[in-house]
Subunit: 200 residues, 3 copies
């Protein structure tokens, strides 16, 4: 599964790009950019690991910090091009949160958490970095305002659990469940679907 | 002590109701309601457990997530009636924070923390879920604005410690200390008591 | 190294003073003052310890809570004099964050984290208490707005790492690296130096 490790680093870099992009909108300085990129990239996975009472992976493996610095530098150098790639970035983000959800779910199950808690922790891995970023920036977290986002992660995690119980091959299962997350994101974006609100 | 376990689940459900009620005020969608209910319900206890370097209980025991979902559903179905029960809810909340304080204190002492730290962690168990909820909602935490609240928890925890040193029976001690929290809450509410502010 | 322990307690007390001072600006009550002093004082070190998957030191050692209470009381009693000591406080703060950075770095290295992660965790020890305080207060964290601050901690941590690899005596190294943090703080304040911002 070495390819999963590199995918994880790539995802971390992508999250760092999205984090520093938010910091640039807020006119933060270079430190703010790196800090926000860092928090967005490692926040979700670190929170999951802290709940699991295990050490976050970036503490012992320097490659994660390297991936984050690389992401922030890429953002600084190429930000004018990146902004034009809106549609591509949307797809990458959808794939990224799908992938992080499943990796987080697998890790939680491997460390013997209850399946329902593992679903929550999988979703946390994908979205809580952004929540911490928004909270630090003093904004209502995006997941409360956006079209279906965290819920897509929950669906992906539940789909993975169900298919695993049916005995489906793990890599194939990842492919299906991540695709489900992407599909829900694309459809909910295209048709502006929202979860119901309470009527008063 | 099986009844304490069910009381803990009941308290978790009550906190989930109060959390989703705050989310409804902010016009969040269904996911926001569940997420906020969840954070309010497990935030304080999880923070305590993380400080104690032990795994939060909801990670391994699915009943807590079930209690939270039930609480959010009860809120959605019966919110019009709940809002009329203001006085009852106030009493339930006071009993809930008292009970969570003592349970948190006991757990911290059992895991060999310093008694003074155990008092702080007991209070954290009761109030930090709400603090995290308010911070996510981008509001100044209620405990900074409300009449005597967290301080009531501190008093309950200190009372429990003192009575335990006097050798009083544990269940009887819980009863007295929770009652003290409720009493402080009711009196401070009725007479609009506040802690002193610094004069400039 | 017993003197380091007392320095750590002293630093904790200083942070509690700065935290309760922020709370007083916000007109919080006595509980708010103590709570904010507490969060500012133990936030950074606790976050570092949680990342390292070890128990924060104040949980088992009651002297830290005592140092915090003392700091808040000192602030309440002498706040009119303290505010005149602006220049002295600036220097104490610079020494404090320098010292906390190096202590955090040493602890992280001792618990076998990657050197780059130890640099980040050293900086976290010094600045994250303030970040949590500002976030609870619903303000954009100071480290995003101020002249060079967290970056000074990063420089101090990197300097310590380099000099340690050159085999320099540990106490002497602390002296040099803390001085570097103070120097960067003083120079960046005096000449209003800032890190670059992205131009649009």
């Amino acid at each position: 599964m070495e390819s999963l490790y590199y995918l994880d680093l790539l995802g971390t870099m992508m999250f760092a790009i999205s984090g520093s992009s938010a910091a640039a909108d807020k006119k933060l300085d270079l430190f703010g950019l790196i800090f926000t990129g860092f928090v967005t990239a490692i926040g979700g996975g670190s929170l999951r690991d802290i709940f699991l009472n295990t050490r976050p992976v970036w503490i012992n493996d320097g490659n994660y910090l390297l991936a984050i610095i690389t992401g922030v530098l890429l953002f600084i150098l190429f930000r004018k091009y990146l902004l034009r790639l809106y549609r591509t970035l949307f797809l990458f983000d959808a794939m990224g949160i799908g992938f992080f959800t499943i990796v987080g779910l697998q890790k939680s199950l491997g460390l013997e958490s209850h399946p329902a808690a593992a679903v929550v922790l999988g979703m946390f891995s994908a979205v809580m970095g952004g929540v911490i970023r928004d909270t630090l920036m003093n904004e209502t977290p995006l997941i409360f305002r956006k079209e279906i986002y965290a819920t897509a992660c929950l669906c992906g995690a539940i789909s993975y659990l169900l298919l695993e119980n049916l005995g489906i091959n793990s890599l194939f299962n990842i492919l299906i469940s991540v695709s489900l997350v992407v599909l829900i994101r694309v459809v909910s974006m295209k048709y502006k679907l929202q979860l119901p609100h309470l009527s008063n």
